[in-house]
């Protein structure tokens, strides 16, 4: 059998597709659902579905296939929720399981934040990303960059301040 390297059924290529689109898909799903766990579930199921149909989906269509499947799954869940809600009209809406920090946020706001981060001066951006994305403590960052904790804190402080100016009134 001749193995097509760009066949989705090929495990390696499937992983490549995952790495290419998973983040975007999760983001897309988060803003649809406003629920991180649900977004994660649909994300996983969409890729499972892609794998199941790997023979039928052309590799150039993989992305649109994933997003379509994900969107339909989301719509079905919404539809189901509606039915359940109608059934349980008497039930008081359950308190949101999300932490209060996960309040409803529009995608545009996130784009603004990201833009603001990329506009930061390089030194501030490095510290900021190490802290927020890589989850390093100020002390660890200080050690790694061979600067004082105070300097790290200052850079974070000004980074936040600059971002606030960029984002302006919400």
């Amino acid at each position: 059998m001749i193995k097509d390297l760009n066949n989705i059924c090929d495990g390696k290529f499937f992983k490549t597709i995952f790495d290419l689109y998973a983040k975007d898909l999760k983001r897309f799903l988060y803003f649809k659902t406003q629920d991180m766990d649900l977004a994660e579930d649909i994300l996983q199921d969409s890729f499972v579905k892609l794998w199941e149909n790997c023979n039928k989906v052309d590799q150039t269509k993989a992305k649109s296939y994933l997003f379509t499947v994900a969107k339909n799954m989301f719509l079905n869940i919404k539809k189901h929720e509606k039915v359940v809600r109608n059934h349980q009209k008497l039930h008081v809406a359950k308190s949101n399981k999300e932490t209060p920090e996960f309040i409803l946020l529009e995608q545009e706001f996130l784009v603004k934040i990201e833009k603001a981060i990329s506009d930061l001066p390089e030194k501030q951006r490095t510290v900021f990303l190490m802290n927020r994305i890589e989850k390093k403590k100020y002390r660890e960052i200080a050690e790694m960059l061979d600067i004082s904790v105070k300097t790290v804190e200052k850079r974070m402080h000004f980074a936040l301040k600059a971002m606030k100016e960029k984002i302006g009134n919400v």
Binding site: A22, E52, V84, M156, H157, F158, K161, M163, K164, V170
Partner: protein
């Protein structure tokens, strides 16, 4: 208050606030109300961004696991089909064999399967899942006796008396359509056409069309009228009328090959309704959602039931 002074360092308070070292209240002292709100919203936005930027290796592992699981069930389903065809040929083989010998013919159905069979006289039997019938072919011309475990729907050709024997009672007819459900301690007969005689504990009961009789767990015998013209399970649905939840759960287990942990619920609640044989999610939802019972998957086919709070 001493420590507050170090925080008052004008150039680090935002860093310390984001790090959780100083509170929202303290931050309010440093910045205007308006700015405070922006910082709060930025904080939420950052949390979401961080969450979305997390590496997705664990998600990929989860995807692979799900794929593996499905492969396994698919494989099982295939082997299952195999075993069915082997079983079917065995039944056929022994069927031929027993027509020469005095052996009883046994026909079984497994989980989520129904079988339609035609008896020697042209009577039809539709067996629901996980049921078993057996009869003596040799003596068929003398007496039409069928042993039943589980549930089946009978369309009996007119002729000599036709008897369905179960552990809990016998049903005798001449020519008619009726359904018998004899699973564990549940015994139910519904007559759809003709006339049926049901014998429970040496007592005779006669059913005319649309009448039904039931005895649960050795309790008193109930009689009622059934409105349908054939059992709903034939059309891929199981219906229940004021049946203790326990038996509905058993039926679900039988249909879908599941196991339910019922220790936390009251399974004597009465259920009226039906569930589909085609979609497990819909089936579970239609039984448990209406009873305000939540179900959570514990294992591949094990669910735990709980009352909704």
């Amino acid at each position: 208050m001493e420590s507050n002074k170090t925080h008052k360092d004008k150039e680090v308070y935002l860093a310390q606030w984001l790090d959780g070292k100083i509170s929202d209240e303290t931050l309010k002292e440093y910045v205007s109300e308006e700015d405070f709100l922006i910082y709060k919203k930025m904080q939420s936005g950052l949390l979401i961004m961080e969450e979305l930027e997390k590496p997705l290796a664990s998600s990929f592992n989860a995807v692979q696991q799900k794929i593996q699981q499905q492969k396994r069930t698919k494989f099982r389903r295939q082997t299952y089909r195999w075993s069915i065809s082997i079983a079917a040929s065995l039944v056929l083989f022994f069927g031929l064999y027993s027509s020469i010998n005095v052996q009883s013919t046994t026909i079984e159905t497994f989980f989520a399967h129904q079988k339609e069979i035609v008896l020697l006289d042209g009577s039809e039997v539709i067996m629901n899942s996980n049921s078993e019938i057996s009869y003596q072919e040799r003596e068929w011309n003398l007496k039409r006796d069928v042993n039943l475990k589980g549930e089946a729907f009978f369309k009996v050709k007119k002729g000599s008396s036709f008897t369905v024997l179960t552990d809990q009672g016998t049903v005798t007819v001449l020519g008619t359509k009726f359904n018998v459900n004899a699973s564990d301690d549940f015994f139910e007969v519904i007559c759809y056409e003709g006339k049926v005689k049901v014998n429970i504990n040496k007592e005779d009961y006669f059913l005319t069309p649309n009448q039904a009789i039931r005895r649960i767990n050795g309790n008193t015998i109930e009689r009622w009228d059934s409105k349908s013209i054939s059992p709903t399970w034939i059309n891929g649905e199981s219906s229940f009328k004021s049946v203790p939840l326990k038996y509905v759960i058993k039926a679900l287990e039988k249909q879908y090959n599941l196991k339910f942990i019922t220790t936390k619920i009251d399974d004597s609640l009465i259920f009226t309704g039906s569930f589909s044989h085609k979609n497990i999610e819909i089936a579970l939802a239609s039984v448990f959602k209406t009873m305000n019972i939540s179900y959570s998957k514990k294992d591949k086919s094990v669910y735990e039931l709980n009352h909704d709070k």
